[in-house]
């Protein structure tokens, strides 16, 4: 999917922005960069410096004399636009754009261009009107001018999110819910969860030790054990953490015994 998305930069003034856009693209798995009438040398040292390893994209970037040529083979052209224009145009949010990508790319020949304008003046009305739709990145109304590479970063990130969402649902065994349930903390964990029986034994031990050190009075329990239960249960202890906590309690018991 991502290989059928082209980023088109029109009239870029700062080579650093071209390099930074290339880096943002490659970070998110986009590889197709087109430059329309850049107002700088795209192979300037500053471009490579900001590309920081995405030099291949800078080197491979094709240059065009007009937007028309850069998007000729595209089936969907989307222009990044900060402003609403005189003539209203279909406008989507970055998220809606990304979520629509699988559908937009459903047919074999489908190809997309995301078009970004000049640092100072954006896209012209003529350029905006060459787009099927516009995408607007929601910004602070008091400070709305995004850096060019930052805008590329946001849209490339949203494209990748949409791509990953497809990937997650692509295998028969998997849906997002299952994946989530398998990884309660969002990463592969290093120890299995403690069992309920372990947990109950721990609470018995905890209450016994807290009573022995005179922190807890079973005849006047207030809500102490309930609060400690609530804390440790919502943490979803793993088996090693359980062993550590039992080990701490056992050591406290031993010290008390040493004393007596």
């Amino acid at each position: 999917m991502l290989d059928r998305i082209r980023i088109v930069l029109i009239g870029t003034s700062h080579p650093g922005n071209i390099g930074a856009a290339a880096r943002a693209m490659r970070n998110m798995g986009l590889e197709d960069l087109a430059l329309v009438t850049p107002r700088c040398d795209p192979r300037d040292q500053e471009a490579y410096s900001r590309a920081s390893g995405a030099n291949t994209l800078v080197d491979a970037a094709r240059q065009f004399d007009a937007l028309e040529a850069a998007v000729a083979d595209r089936t969907l052209v989307v222009g990044a636009s900060a402003r609403s224009r005189h003539l209203p145009w279909p406008m989507v949010s970055p998220r809606a754009l990304a979520e629509g990508l699988p559908q937009a790319l459903a047919s074999d020949g489908a190809r997309i261009a995301l078009v970004f304008g000049r640092e100072d003046t954006g896209l012209t009305n003529a350029e905006l009107q060459r787009c099927h739709q516009h995408v607007h990145i929601p910004t602070n109304p008091d400070f709305s001018s995004l850096n060019l590479a930052a805008a590329v970063q946001v849209l490339a990130y949203e494209c990748r999110q949409a791509f990953l969402a497809i990937d997650e649902t692509a295998t028969p065994a998997a849906n997002a819910t299952t994946g989530e349930a398998d990884q309660p903390f969002g990463v592969e964990w290093d120890n299995p969860p403690a069992t309920h029986a372990d947990l109950e034994r721990f609470f018995v031990h905890l209450e016994s030790t807290l009573t022995a050190i005179d922190f807890h009075d079973p005849d006047n329990p207030r809500q102490l054990m309930a609060r400690l239960r609530r804390l440790f249960m919502r943490a979803h202890l793993d088996s090693m953490e359980m062993n550590i906590l039992r080990g701490i309690l056992g050591t406290i018991d031993k010290r008390l015994h040493d004393r007596s």
Copy 2:
């Protein structure tokens, strides 16, 4: 909501990245920038040049000597992490983080820090272990190193999306989902969250007590304290639970003292 989110940059080398991060923040409506031991002059001309109008954020950025001080008043500390570490830690995607913000900020005293590491080496293990959870921006596995300001841009963008989503539902018509989102654990909680500073004082006390009872050997720490940090940080302790745990430690200390 956005005014209770602090961006913390640790050991930044390039003033341009500080300026670009400030611009990304202000574009998305974030204003609170903290710098921990920057390895450059944050008021360098390059910072202002890349800030491009977000100079006020650069000027207002507070500097700290350690992460600890920059997050002392925070109730949720989230570290941006590119890698999975030896010790798995609760990990969220930028979207899940953003969608959880209304919950995380439900109580009046709640404050969040999003922590970003050095351009070259990221966050240290010690810094990562001061975080309740980590956030990983999904990237191309073949080219995964995001520019610092680009990472700030992506997370700030997601925060703004979550903010705008609340705004859309913040009408009397709001549904059950909204009500749920107002509550950190799905219900109205009885105590405010513990602050980061409280938590760090607890960990100091915990380590001291575990050493005193000979359960922990600071000269051969293995991963004991890291595991206990991970456990108590992901439980998101409230202030009363914190008092109970400190009370237990104090009582153990007293019993040891009685003995000697």
